[in-house]
């Protein structure tokens, strides 16, 4: 099992006990996210659709690579990797 850091973006920190990252043990990105959700159940509906697929306005990166161009949730992770959750945000003029 590898230890990876999962970065929690600002809009989701309220559902992750206000933390900006969570350390998890995992071999793949999918396992890392599952582990995260086991610890913070409220994150599930923000990250996943009802059919179990990642929501399309949420991107996931391993280090600086988008998992869509790797093996998606089957992308393997190594010790010390950073898994980043990057949702779209829109604030600007009136935020």
């Amino acid at each position: 099992m590898m230890t990876v850091k999962v970065m929690i973006p600002t809009p989701l920190r309220a559902y992750a006990g206000k933390q900006d990252h969570v350390d998890v043990a995992a071999e793949t990105v999918g396992q890392a996210l599952n582990s995260l959700i086991l610890q913070h159940g409220e994150l599930r509906r923000h990250l996943y659709q009802d059919d179990g697929r990642l929501r399309s306005f949420v991107n996931v990166y391993v280090n600086d690579d988008d998992i869509r161009y790797l093996q998606k949730e089957a992308t393997p992770v190594k010790n010390g990797d950073t898994v980043s959750i990057v949702p779209s945000i829109a604030g600007g003029a009136g935020a």
Partner: protein, 392 residues
């Protein structure tokens, strides 16, 4: 370092006056800019969508740098709450049209540039026409429908889209719409459904954050005009202000992107409100929720009616002001519904009436029958019943 001399040219923007040479001397003495670069800036045509938090530093620095043709698009008026971050404006500008106040400020900073204002909302009907006479579009808007509109209009008309966005103390920046680069849809094919990304209570923003991200957008715009350095094409810059950390993620052009990919299916601008699910949401929420106005509530309370006031705001809002309600933040409601007595009449309120409408809808589904939404929330209560209650 001596300025290079340029041959005489006859088109407008082809030379710099003595005043301009003095004004921009700190640019001219840099080899990365020089006369050639400053003339590129003078000939550049940049359209700013939004003159708010991001637009403030953006406009100021583009004007200061001598971008010769600036366009400002904003339909809004300066509000008192804007002054926490929209530093183009002053207290005396409250109530004025933003484009007018911004034009005045920027023209004072640099009278030599052309500033056109478009006091309009950007829509599918006007975007392509507005973009036509500009080369670079800078997105400083604050909502998903407009971001998708700006992106789509840029790709369809071949314009660069300098993107920046913020949320509380986190920012993003990139450059979309470059010839071989990704567009916004390559990164986010679909917007979040309304209500899923935290809003209202969890919103707010550190005022200086758009100052930083807007300045980054200005920097990228200037670099693109000069052709210097490495732009953010293909990179998503992430900024966490609290940690003071910048990170970078790789962005790729998505070969399946419906807008800029190999098999394009989007060839026209669409209805972006509908795309973002907003029309459907509005229809749903206005139809089913029973309401009570602040005056009606006050009348009933004065009569001695036994009403239970449920406040669904967040604890830090309760500290600003409250009307004696029992506080259960909206997010906690499902877990704490047992604190409510469905045999009593309940009036739910929040700040402006939106979150409490969700609460009423939820409780009705849970079987509560005697439940109303306070129309307009505590803001309307302050306006119509008790002006001593502060608005925020």
């Amino acid at each position: 370092m001596a300025a290079k001399t340029m041959p005489e040219q006859t088109e407008a923007g082809a030379t710099l006056s003595k005043d301009e040479i003095l004004r921009y001397s700190r640019h001219l003495i840099m080899p990365e800019v020089g006369m050639e670069g400053q003339l590129k800036l003078k000939r550049a045509r940049v359209l700013m969508i939004g003159t708010g938090g991001l637009g403030a530093p953006l406009g100021l620095y583009l004007a200061a740098a001598g971008v010769g043709h600036l366009g400002l698009v904003d339909f809004d008026k300066v509000d008192f709450t804007n002054l926490q971050r929209q530093v183009t404006f002053g207290t005396s500008d409250v109530g004025r049209r933003k484009v007018e106040a911004a034009q005045e400020r920027l023209a004072n900073l640099n009278p030599a540039i052309e500033i056109k204002v478009f006091e309009t909302m950007l829509t599918s009907a006007n975007a392509l026409e507005l973009f036509r006479e500009y080369d670079i579009i800078v997105d400083g808007t604050d909502n998903f429908p407009t971001r998708y509109l700006v992106n789509d209009a840029c790709v369809l008309s071949g314009k660069i889209n300098v993107y920046g966005s913020i949320f509380r103390f986190e920012g993003q920046a990139s450059v979309f719409g470059a010839p071989d680069g990704p567009c916004y849809r390559c990164l986010y094919p679909e917007p979040p459904p309304p209500g899923l990304v935290p809003s209202c209570a969890e919103g707010g923003v550190l005022g200086v954050l758009p100052g930083i991200v807007g300045s980054i957008q200005a920097m990228e715009t200037i670099k693109l005009i000069l052709g210097s350095g490495d732009s953010l094409v293909g990179r998503l810059l992430l900024f966490d202000a609290l940690q003071m950390k910048f990170r970078e993620l790789k962005l790729r052009k998505n070969p399946d992107c419906p807008l800029c990919g190999e098999k394009r299916t989007i060839t026209r601008l669409i209805d972006y409100q509908e795309f973002c699910g907003i029309r459907g949401e509005e229809a749903a929420s206005t139809v089913s929720v029973p309401e009570i106005t602040p005056k009606e509530l006050k009348a009933r309370l004065d009569r001695g009616d036994d009403l239970f006031i449920l406040d669904v705001r967040e604890p830090h809002e309760y500290q600003i002001c409250q009307i004696g309600g029992h506080l259960i933040p909206l997010g906690d409601l499902p877990r704490r519904v047992s604190e409510l007595d469905s045999s009593r009449e309940i009036v739910a309120h929040c700040r402006s009436g939106k979150r409490s409408a969700d609460a009423v809808a939820f409780l009705k589904q849970a079987g509560f029958k005697k439940i109303w939404n306070l129309k307009g929330g505590i803001l309307a209560w302050s306006d119509e019943v008790d002006p001593k209650v502060p608005k925020y």
